[in-house]
């Protein structure tokens, strides 16, 4: 270990620890640091969790130093030294267990990690409190009757302090998480949420009067809002604000005796609620994100298939013309070669256009937007259909801004679906204005249609009425429509009906 780095870290840690200890030295029991709010252990645990147990000696020295500076060694140097050793051992133990359980990186991203963290902190602080009170009791520094209430107060103070503060420190230590905090800071909604939490705190401690713990439940509402909207990062910040607010509230009304332990227990409940909600919101977001990613992959695969088909056609024709040219040469019919060569050049041109589009696809991501006349799209739909397909369009429709190949894929998919819905399907494709900025294409058939329940599920991947792949087709079609800033919906009706909405090319 680099000595300089160790000293530098310790030089940052020690003042922060002393400051936190000083700030949170409220409502003590006797002259000891037995308070209902103890955030500084979180600092010690987080430091040893992230940096390793080698920091334990520095932690021990800092704890003793803080006791001296803030409380002037209330029971003598020996007791302070002994308690510092006990606390350090306990915090190092918690840090070591968390380090082992939260491999590879200590963070709170999953339900499992959060549950392990909460369990280890709750159980670990019980042991630490027993050790601390045990030392004081054993050295006769505390009256015997104060041991049990002292233990409870110490435990609640430590547990709540660590649960509230450690997640904040872990987030602050992680570069990715810091950036999500910064993103929150740029959102207007964040300030509204903070304002609401502050206002609720004021109501609880001043506005409504009486026992603050009676109105504490009000805080759950903004906390739930924040956790759902902003996930773990929001929840962590919000509970830190609540904790600070509760401490200020207790200070503010320090003349009256407030049930601080009960208040801190409520803070603990609030903290757990917010953290679990935040983690669930994040897990759900991750699941949605990975589904979207795999759908994009499937869409790319479908595109690759469509392109392979498009490139195979001219290649096949080219090979045929080439072979025909050979036969003409062998037969000495050279005069007819010019026509064949002309056809070959045209096919080569067609193939190179597909290749160019393929290159664009890889260069510019999955969509290449260009103004496309609505008539071109309808023509593609018509070509995909049978004789029973009719096409209609409103007059003077502006061009739509889409990736032609992708939207044609979607339309072919919808028409093929409609054609398979019933034997001898009559399919109608119509285009009209959806609103000032969007076009709506409706693909309808005379098949049996779908139920309102099925209208919601047909787009889910792997839900399909058919054994082969159309479920993916619809899911991909919707993903493509949404990537264009449009929508694709199935209408529950007595006949089959799909609505595809696409943006017009905007002028100006």
């Amino acid at each position: 270990m680099n000595v300089l780095r160790y000293l530098r870290d310790a030089a940052v840690f020690a003042p922060c620890y002393v400051l936190l200890d000083w700030v949170s030295y409220i409502h003590p029991l006797g002259a000891f640091n037995i308070t209902p709010w103890n955030p500084q252990p979180a600092l010690a645990i987080a430091w040893m969790l992230l940096g390793g147990l080698a920091h334990a000696p520095a932690v021990c020295a800092t704890i003793a130093l803080a006791d001296g500076i803030i409380r002037g060694f209330p029971a003598g140097y020996a007791v302070t030294g002994l308690t510092a050793l006990t606390l350090t051992t306990g915090y190092a133990g918690i840090a070591a267990v968390l380090r082992a359980l939260l491999r590879p990186k200590p963070s709170l991203h999953s339900l499992r990690q959060l549950t392990l963290f909460v369990g280890v902190v709750a159980a670990g602080t019980v042991v630490v409190a027993v050790g601390f009170l045990g030392v004081l009791y054993g050295t006769d520094a505390l009256e015997p009757g104060a041991a049990l209430p002292g233990w409870l107060r110490f435990w609640v103070g430590d547990a709540v302090g660590v649960l509230v503060t450690a997640p904040l420190l872990l987030v602050a230590a992680d570069a990715d998480q810091r950036s999500s905090l910064c993103a929150l800071a740029r959102r207007g909604e964040t300030y509204l949420q903070i304002g609401l939490v502050a206002a609720t705190l004021w109501l609880i401690f001043a506005g409504l009067g009486g026992d603050p713990s009676h109105h504490f439940y009000l805080l759950f509402l903004p906390l739930i809002w924040i956790a759902i909207r902003s996930g773990m990062a929001g929840a962590i910040i919000a509970i830190a604000i609540v904790q600070v607010g509760v401490v200020i509230g207790i200070h503010h009304r320090s003349l009256q005796t407030l049930p601080t332990i009960e208040l801190q227990a409520l803070v603990a409940a609030l903290t757990l609620t917010a953290l679990y909600l935040g983690v669930m919101v994040e897990e759900r977001e991750r699941a949605t994100e990975s589904l979207k990613r795999s759908l994009r992959l499937v869409a790319a695969g479908e595109m690759a298939g469509a392109i392979a088909h498009e490139i195979n056609q001219p290649l096949t024709a080219l090979a045929n013309y080439g072979r025909a040219g050979q036969m003409l040469l062998e037969a000495g019919r050279n005069a007819e070669l010019a026509g064949v060569i002309g056809s070959m050049l045209a096919e080569a041109q067609r193939a190179s256009e597909v290749v160019r589009r393929l290159r664009d696809l890889f260069r510019q991501g999955t969509t290449r937007l260009e103004p496309v006349p609505v008539a071109h799209l309808l023509e593609a739909a018509r070509r995909a259909g049978t004789n029973g397909l009719t096409v209609a369009a409103e007059r003077d429709l502006p061009d739509v801004l889409v990736d032609r190949l992708q939207i044609e894929l979607v339309l072919r998919n919808l028409v093929a679906n409609a054609a398979e819905s019933v034997d001898g399907a009559e399919i109608a494709v119509s285009a009209a204005r959806h609103d000032a900025r969007h076009l709506r294409i409706v693909v309808s058939d005379n098949g049996p249609g779908i139920s309102p329940a099925a209208a919601k599920t047909v787009f889910e991947p792997f839900v399909s009425g058919k054994p082969s792949g159309m479920g993916i087709g619809l899911a991909v079609s919707r993903a493509i429509a949404e990537a264009h800033g449009g929508t694709l919906e199935a209408r529950a009706a007595s006949h089959g009906e799909f609505h595809l909405v696409l943006p017009f090319q905007s002028h100006g």
Binding site: G305, A308, H309, N312, Q313, P314, L315, T316, A317, L318, A319, N320, Y321, R323, A324, M327, L328, A331, V340, S343, A346, E347, R350, R383, A384, G385, T386, N387, A419, S468
Partner: protein
């Protein structure tokens, strides 16, 4: 006897360049071709008496190549199918073979591969036509027999001797022998064994 219908390659593909190039190449290779842009127009023109080979794209507008194959089968034709596709689609290939396609060729293909498939199909067609021709000739010969001769033949095929046949039909064994000689002349066979073989083949 009527001149047999010529074998034709029926090309069904929605891509005009593919149709045009195939027609040119196959035409130069000595095949007669007829072109269709989709399954519907082929079915409209189709006559179950057509013989040759259908070369159809798997993905056609409306009805697929494999779908067309089963429609043609349901109209009583056994004309062989060669399915071509730009998608290496395993389930489609399986469906095509289940419907007795001669071959399933992926685009782009080379001429030798396509010709081999078409030639296999033509050989199948030729064999079918030849067998049908023989059978038709046999039936014509059978039709030349009189009613009495037919009765004698039926008994002879059962393996009865002249006397036994005479007893069954209530005529003299001498008359049976006269009938039998006439039958063998008309059916152009040399002995009883050949006669029985002919009759069994024709009755099939």
């Amino acid at each position: 006897m009527a001149e047999p219908a010529p074998l034709v390659v029926y090309v069904i593909d929605d891509d005009a360049s593919i149709r045009d190039s195939l027609a040119l190449m196959l035409g130069l290779g000595g095949y007669a071709t007829r072109l269709f842009a989709d399954a519907e127009s082929f079915l409209v023109a189709f006559d179950p008496g057509w013989s040759g080979c259908v070369v159809a794209d798997l993905r056609l507008p409306g009805m697929s190549g494999v779908g067309l194959q089963s429609r043609v089968r349901s109209r009583g034709s056994t004309i062989p199918f060669v399915i071509i596709t730009a998608h290496g689609d395993v389930p489609a290939a399986r469906a095509a073979f289940r419907a007795q396609a001669v071959d399933f060729i992926e685009k782009p293909f080379d001429e030798a591969q396509l010709r081999a498939a078409i030639d296999t199909a033509f050989a199948l067609e030729q064999h079918r036509i030849d067998t049908a021709e023989l059978r038709r000739a046999d039936l014509e010969k059978l039709a030349r027999l009189t009613e009495r001769e037919r009765e004698v033949l039926d008994q002879a095929v059962k393996g009865l001797h002249a006397k036994e046949i005479a007893a069954v039909l209530g005529i003299s064994s001498r008359t049976v022998e006269v009938h039998r000689t006439r039958i063998m002349e008309k059916l152009e066979v040399r002995n009883i064994a050949e006669l029985v073989r002919f009759a069994v083949a024709a009755e099939r």
